[in-house]
C-alpha cells in the first residue's frame, strides 16, 4: 500500500535520474488512469468534449495530495506530464510489439488501437512528432505536453511557463496544427 507522500518522493527520485523509480511509479498511476479512460469514453464525438486530459490532471493531483508548494507546481506538472506521456507511450509500444509478434492474439487488441491503426492518430506517432517539435520550437512542445499529457488549463500552463493565457492558447493551436501536419506527412 503506497501512501501519497511516496509518490512525490518517487517522482523526485525519477527526476534526479533513478530510472527504477519509474517502475514503482507506474502501478500507482493505473487506478487513476481508469478515470482518464472513462473520461475519454464519455467524450462522444460531436457532443461536449469531456477532456480526458483533465482527468490525467486530476489523477496527479490526487496522487500528490497537494503536497507540493504552489511555486513548485508548474515544475511538478511538467514532470507529471512527462511521466504520463512516458507511461502511455511505453505501453502502446509494448502493445504494438505484441500485436506484431502474435497474430492470433489480435482479438485482445483493443478497439481503440484498431481505431488508431485505421487512420486515427496513435500516441506513438504523437510522441514522435512531439520530439520533432521539440527540436524546432521547444516552447510549443512543452506547452503541448502540459496540455495533452498534463491536462492543464490554459491559465495553469500560462502560470507554469510565464506567458499570457492568450499566448498559450495560440501556441497550442499552432503546435497542434503543426503536429497534425507532421503526423500526416510521416504517414504518407
Amino acid at each position: 500500500m503506497q501512501v501519497p507522500a511516496n509518490f512525490t518522493q518517487l517522482l523526485t527520485e525519477w527526476r534526479s535520474g533513478q530510472p527504477q523509480a519509474l517502475d514503482r511509479l507506474t502501478p500507482l498511476i493505473y487506478d487513476e488512469l481508469r478515470r482518464l479512460a472513462r473520461g475519454y469514453m464519455r467524450a462522444e464525438r460531436g457532443s461536449h468534449t469531456l477532456q480526458a486530459t483533465a482527468v490525467v490532471h486530476e489523477a496527479f493531483l490526487r496522487l500528490i495530495q497537494a503536497n507540493v508548494d504552489l511555486q513548485d507546481r508548474g515544475h511538478f506538472f511538467a514532470l507529471a506530464s512527462r511521466l504520463m506521456r512516458r507511461v502511455l507511450v511505453d505501453h502502446a509500444k509494448s502493445r504494438s510489439r505484441l500485436k506484431r509478434n502474435a497474430g492470433f492474439r489480435d482479438l485482445s487488441v483493443s478497439d481503440s488501437e484498431q481505431k488508431a491503426g485505421s487512420g486515427e492518430v496513435s500516441v506513438i506517432a504523437l510522441d514522435d512528432a512531439l520530439e520533432s517539435l521539440l527540436q524546432l520550437e521547444p516552447r510549443l512542445a512543452r506547452v503541448i505536453e502540459l496540455h495533452y499529457f498534463g491536462g492543464m488549463t490554459y491559465d495553469e500552463i500560462a502560470a507554469a511557463v510565464g506567458a499570457s493565457a492568450a499566448t498559450v492558447h495560440r501556441d497550442i493551436r499552432l503546435g497542434k496544427a503543426w503536429l497534425l501536419s507532421e503526423i500526416g506527412g510521416a504517414a504518407k
Binding site: 501512501v3 487513476e32 488512469l33 467524450a43 507511461v87 502493445r95 481503440s112 520550437e137 499552432l174
Partner: protein, 899 residues
C-alpha cells in the same frame, strides 16, 4: 527540418491569420506570400488543420490510456475472488470495474457481480470507511434494490463488493427497445421511486442515480444497482479535504449532477430527487436536460447551477446540432407518438413535475420521493398536480414573507366592519332581487354590486390615494364571507372575488389574490352565456397577479387569451382592449425584455384610448409614460424624454400629485434625465418624487428604493462615491425587505452596487455582488434577458480588471450574444459590450479582432449617448491609450477632436 527563419515566417503568418474569416484570410495570404508558393502552402495547411473540429490528439491520448487500462483490468479474469471465479468483465466506471463471478461448488451454482474498487489503494482511510459502511448497505432488503452479498479485500488490499447479479437492461434501453408509451414509462419510474424511497427511509442516499444504474429485468421489474456505493467513494468522505475536490466532483457523471454536487455542498435525499428528475427527463425526452445548452464541462456545470433546462415538451421538438429530423422523430417513435403529439403530451403537468424535481435549491424540490411519485400518480389519474400549484404558491409565499401590512387605523377598522355588514345585508337584498328580477332591478343590483366593488377597491392604495386605510384582515374576512356564502349570485360572486383579488394584489398579497382570480376566471368560464368581456378582464387580472408573483410562463398564456378574447369581442375596440394591450406591453417589457413588441402594443393602446369616447386623459398619460420605456431600452433617451414629459404634463393636469403613478412618472423622468447627463434637473425631479413617496406612504416601499438607486447613480456620475454607495445600499436593503430574496429587482440593485464597487476598485466586492445578481437572475429571469447581459458585461469588466482575460472574454461574448439578439446591432448596450470585448481582446494580444471592434463600438456609443456619457468617456480613453501605446499619436489626436 524547417530552417529557423522559414519557421518564424510561418509562425508569424499563422498567428496573424488564425482568427480571420475565409475571404480576408485568402487576401492576406496572397499579399504576404506573394510568389512564395511553398510558404503559402505550409501556412495554408496549418490553418486548415487548425480548423478541425475534433481534437484528434486528445483522442490519441485517451485511446492510449483506455488500452492501458483494458490490459490492467483483464488481469483478474480467471482468478478467484473469495469463493467466486472471475469469468468476465461486465463493465467499468471511473471508480471501479465490475466482473461477473461464478460460484460452482457441490452445494449450488450462483452468479454474482463483483465490484472491484479503485482509489482505495491510494486512500487507506477510505478503505476503513468502506468496511464500516457496507454493513449498513447489507441491511437494505428490497426486491427493487440489488442486494449486497459479501465484501472483502483482494490480496493486494484492494476492496471489493459482491452483489446480486441482475440480468436485464438499463432502464432507458429497456423502455426504448419495447417502445413503451409515456404512461408505461411513468409507471416504471414510479416503481423506481418506491425503491429509492425505501432506501431513504433507511437513511441511505444513492447519490448517483442514473439510467445506467437502474436495470430492468425481463419480467419488467426495476432493480437499482450501487445503492450508497457512491458515498463510500465520494471524496468528501475522506477526513482530509483536497484542494481538488471541485475537480473530483466534476468528474462524477456531470450530466446527472445536482447543483449542490457541482458546488460541493451537502448531499441529501433531495439530491436523489434531483437525479430522479433528470432520469424522468431522460425517459420522457430521450435526452439529457442540458444537451441544448452546453458543450464544455465548465459550461455544463455553469448551466446546471444557473440555467433552467429546456422544458421536456420543448426538448422533444428541439433539433440538436448535427441531428436530423429523423433523429428527432426516432425519439418520439419510441414513445409511440409523433413529435408534436409527444410535445403536447409532456407540456403542462409533466414539464412542471420534472421542473419541480430539478429545482436548483434542494429545499424547493419535492419534499420526498413519495411526493414526487404521488404527483405522477395524480397526473396519470387526471387530477391536478402539486407541481403546477406549488409554483406560484412558493414564489408568492416568499414574496410576501416580509411584506407587512400597514397598521389599521381606528377609522379603517370601523370601515371594515361596515363592509362586512354591508356584504351580509346586500347578499340578502340580492336574494330578494333574484326571485323576481325585472330589468330595472337587475340594473340596481348591478349598481349595488358596483358600489360594493368600489368599497372593496378602497383597500387598494391606488384608489385610496395611498392612505393606509386597509388591512389584510379586512380582506381575509371579506374573502371568507364570499367563500362561506353559497347563495351569492355567480356574477356578483365573481365580481367580489375580483375586487378582493385586486385589493390583495395591490397590497402585494399575490398569494391570496391568485386563487381568487382563478376562481373568478373559472366562474366566468362556466357562466351561460359566457360574457367574453368579463372573462377577458378576469384573465387579465389573473395574468397580472401571476406576473407579479414571477410566474411568467402561465401569466403570458393567460394574457394572450385575454387579449385575443377581447379583440374578438370588441368592435370597434374599446378601452378594455387597450387596457389589456397596455398590460401585455408591460409584461413584454419586464418579463420578456422585448421592448420592440412592447412599444407596438403601447402605440396600439394609445390609438384606441385616443379614439374612444369619454375622458381618457389618465390612461393616455400613463401610456405615454410607458412608451418612454422601450425608448430607454433602445437607448433613445431623447425620444424617451419627449414621451415622459408629455405623459407627465398630462398626468399633472389630470390627477393630484398624490396619485401614486405621478411619483413613479417623476422617477421615470429622473432616470431619463440622468442618462442624458442633466444631473441637476434629474436630482430635483427625483427629490420631488422621494418627497411624495415619503410624505404620503411613510414607510419604505419599492418606489423609494428605485428613486434612491437612481439618485445613487447621479452621485456616482458626479464622483460622489460615498453618497452613491449609501443610496444604492439603502435601495438594496429596502428591496430585500420587501421583495422575495430572488426577485429580479434584488439582482438589479446588486448589479448597481457591483458597479459602484468596480468604480471604487474593490474588485472582490464587485465580483461577489455581480455573481449574486447573476444567481438571482438565473432563477427569476429568462437566460436571455438584457439584465442578464448587462450584469455579464459588468462581470466581464471585473474579470478584465483582475487580469483574467479569458474568463472576461467568455462573459462578454455571452453578453454580446444576448445583446445582439434582444437589443440589436446598433444598440448602445450592444456597443457597450463590444467596446469592453474589444478592449479585452487587445489586452489579450488579439488586437486584430479587438481594435476594429473597439473603434466601431466607440463611434456607436458616441453617436448614441453623446460625449459626456461615462461609457463614451471610458471607451474613448481606452482607444486613445491603445493608440498611444502603439505610437499612433495622430489617431489618438483625432479622437480628441473628431472633426
Amino acid at each position: 527540418m524547417i530552417p529557423r527563419g522559414r519557421w518564424q515566417e510561418i509562425q508569424s503568418l499563422f498567428e496573424q491569420l488564425a482568427d480571420m474569416d475565409g475571404p480576408t484570410r485568402e487576401a492576406h495570404l496572397d499579399k504576404s506570400c506573394g510568389e512564395d508558393a511553398d510558404l503559402r502552402r505550409s501556412v495554408q495547411s496549418l490553418l486548415t488543420l487548425d480548423g478541425a473540429r475534433e481534437d484528434t490528439l486528445l483522442n490519441a491520448v485517451g485511446a492510449a490510456a483506455e488500452s492501458l487500462l483494458d490490459d490492467h483490468r483483464d488481469r483478474l479474469i480467471g482468478t478467484r475472488i473469495g469463493p467466486y471465479r472471475v469469468v468476465s468483465i461486465l463493465g467499468h466506471g471511473g471508480m471501479s470495474t465490475v466482473y461477473r463471478g461464478e460460484r460452482d461448488d457441490s452445494q449450488y451454482h450462483q452468479t454474482v457481480a463483483i465490484k472491484v474498487l479503485q482509489h482505495a489503494s491510494v486512500h487507506p482511510r477510505l478503505r476503513s470507511r468502506l468496511h464500516s459502511e457496507r454493513h449498513i448497505l447489507a441491511t437494505l432488503d428490497n426486491p427493487s434494490i440489488a442486494r449486497l452479498i459479501d465484501s472483502g479485500d483482494l490480496e493486494d488490499g484492494t476492496p471489493y463488493l459482491v452483489m446480486e447479479f441482475v440480468n436485464g437492461e438499463s432502464i432507458d434501453v429497456y423502455c426504448d427497445a419495447r417502445t413503451l408509451f409515456v404512461r408505461e414509462r411513468i409507471e416504471l419510474f414510479i416503481a423506481v421511486c418506491g425503491a429509492v424511497q425505501y432506501a431513504h427511509r433507511n437513511l441511505i442516499v444513492h447519490r448517483d442515480i442514473k439510467a445506467s444504474n437502474i436495470f430492468v429485468t425481463d419480467e419488467g421489474a426495476p432493480k437499482l444497482l450501487d445503492f450508497g456505493i457512491a458515498k463510500l467513494l465520494a471524496p468528501e468522505s475522506l477526513s482530509h479535504t483536497l484542494p481538488v475536490t471541485r475537480l473530483q466532483e466534476r468528474i462524477l457523471t456531470p450530466e446527472n449532477a445536482a447543483p449542490e454536487q457541482v458546488l460541493g455542498r451537502p448531499i441529501t435525499t433531495a439530491t436523489d430527487i434531483y437525479a430522479l428528475g433528470v432520469l424522468l427527463y431522460l425517459l420522457l425526452t430521450g435526452r439529457s436536460p442540458y444537451r441544448l445548452l452546453s458543450y464544455s464541462q465548465l459550461q455544463l456545470e455553469r448551466a446546471i447551477c444557473m440555467d433552467d433546462p429546456a422544458r421536456p415538451s420543448q426538448m422533444v421538438v428541439a433539433k440538436l446540432t448535427g441531428e436530423t429530423d429523423i433523429d428527432r422523430s426516432r425519439i418520439s417513435d419510441r414513445r409511440g407518438l409523433s413529435p408534436q403529439r409527444l410535445r403536447a403530451r409532456l407540456s403542462g403537468d409533466l414539464d412542471a413535475i420534472v421542473a419541480m424535481a430539478m429545482r436548483k435549491e434542494p429545499d424547493r424540490r419535492y419534499p420526498s420521493v413519495e411526493a414526487l411519485a404521488e404527483d405522477l400518480r395524480r397526473h396519470l389519474m387526471g387530477q391536478p398536480v402539486q407541481a403546477r400549484q406549488g409554483d406560484w404558491r412558493y414564489n408568492a409565499a416568499k414574496f410576501m414573507r416580509r411584506n407587512l401590512l400597514v397598521v389599521v387605523s381606528g377609522a379603517a377598522v370601523f370601515f371594515g366592519l361596515l363592509i362586512i355588514a354591508g356584504v351580509t345585508l346586500w347578499q340578502n337584498h340580492l336574494i330578494g332581487l333574484a326571485r323576481d328580477a325585472t330589468a330595472e332591478e337587475r340594473d340596481r343590483a348591478q349598481q349595488v354590486s358596483g358600489f360594493m366593488v368600489d368599497v372593496f377597491s378602497r383597500a387598494d392604495p391606488f384608489n385610496a390615494q395611498g392612505r393606509p386605510s386597509t388591512a389584510q384582515e379586512l380582506l381575509d374576512r371579506g374573502a371568507e364571507k364570499i367563500k362561506g356564502n353559497a347563495n351569492l349570485q355567480p356574477e356578483v360572486r365573481a365580481q367580489l372575488l375580483e375586487s378582493i383579488g385586486l385589493a390583495y394584489r395591490r397590497q402585494g398579497l399575490y398569494e391570496r389574490a391568485i386563487p381568487l382570480f382563478e376562481q373568478a376566471v373559472a366562474m366566468r368560464r362556466s357562466a351561460n352565456p359566457i360574457d367574453r368581456r368579463n372573462l377577458a378582464a378576469a384573465l387579465a387580472n389573473l395574468a397580472q397577479a401571476l406576473t407579479d408573483a414571477g410566474s411568467f410562463g402561465s401569466a403570458e398564456a393567460y394574457i394572450q387569451q385575454a387579449l385575443s378574447l377581447s379583440q374578438a369581442t370588441d368592435r370597434p375596440s374599446s378601452a378594455a382592449t387597450a387596457d389589456i394591450l397596455f398590460q401585455y406591453g408591460h409584461f413584454l417589457l419586464n418579463a420578456k425584455s422585448d421592448p420592440e413588441r412592447a412599444s407596438k402594443l403601447f402605440s396600439e393602446a394609445l390609438v384606441i384610448y385616443r379614439s374612444v369616447p369619454g375622458d381618457q386623459h389618465l390612461p393616455i398619460a400613463l401610456t405615454l409614460c410607458s412608451l418612454a420605456s422601450p425608448s430607454i431600452w433602445s437607448g433613445d433617451f431623447v425620444v424617451a424624454e419627449q414621451y415622459q414629459r408629455e405623459g407627465l404634463s398630462l398626468l399633472r393636469a389630470t390627477v393630484s400629485r398624490n396619485y401614486p403613478d405621478y411619483a413613479a412618472s417623476l422617477e421615470g423622468l429622473g432616470y431619463i434625465l440622468t442618462q442624458r447627463g442633466k444631473y441637476a434637473e434629474a436630482e430635483q425631479t427625483l427629490n420631488e418624487a422621494l418627497q411624495i413617496e415619503r410624505g404620503d406612504f411613510g414607510a419604505d416601499n419599492q418606489r423609494i428604493a428605485a428613486i434612491e438607486a437612481n439618485l445613487g447613480e447621479i452621485y456616482e456620475r458626479q464622483g460622489d462615491r460615498a453618497r452613491a454607495m449609501k443610496f444604492t445600499q439603502d435601495a438594496l436593503r429596502i428591496t430585500k425587505d420587501h421583495m422575495a430574496p430572488n426577485h429580479y429587482i434584488v439582482g438589479y440593485f446588486l448589479d448597481a452596487l457591483a458597479n459602484l464597487y468596480l468604480d471604487a476598485d474593490n474588485l472582490g466586492a464587485a465580483e461577489s455582488n455581480a455573481r449574486q445578481a447573476l444567481g438571482i437572475y438565473a432563477q427569476a429571469l429568462p437566460a436571455r434577458h438584457l439584465y442578464v447581459a448587462a450584469t455579464r458585461h459588468l462581470m466581464g469588466e471585473i474579470l478584465l480588471r483582475r487580469g483574467q482575460f479569458e474568463a472576461a472574454e467568455i462573459e462578454l461574448r455571452a453578453a454580446l450574444d444576448i445583446d445582439l439578439s434582444l437589443a440589436g446591432a446598433g444598440n448602445w448596450r450592444t456597443a457597450r459590450t463590444q467596446a469592453s470585448l474589444g478592449w479585452v481582446l487587445i489586452a489579450a494580444n488579439q488586437a486584430v479582432e479587438g481594435e476594429p471592434m473597439l473603434v466601431a463600438a466607440q463611434r456607436q456609443l458616441l453617436a448614441t449617448l453623446g460625449p459626456q456619457h461615462p461609457e463614451v468617456i471610458q471607451s474613448t480613453t481606452r482607444l486613445a491609450q491603445y493608440y498611444r501605446s502603439h505610437h499612433r499619436e495622430a489617431d489618438a489626436a483625432k479622437l480628441r477632436s473628431p472633426n
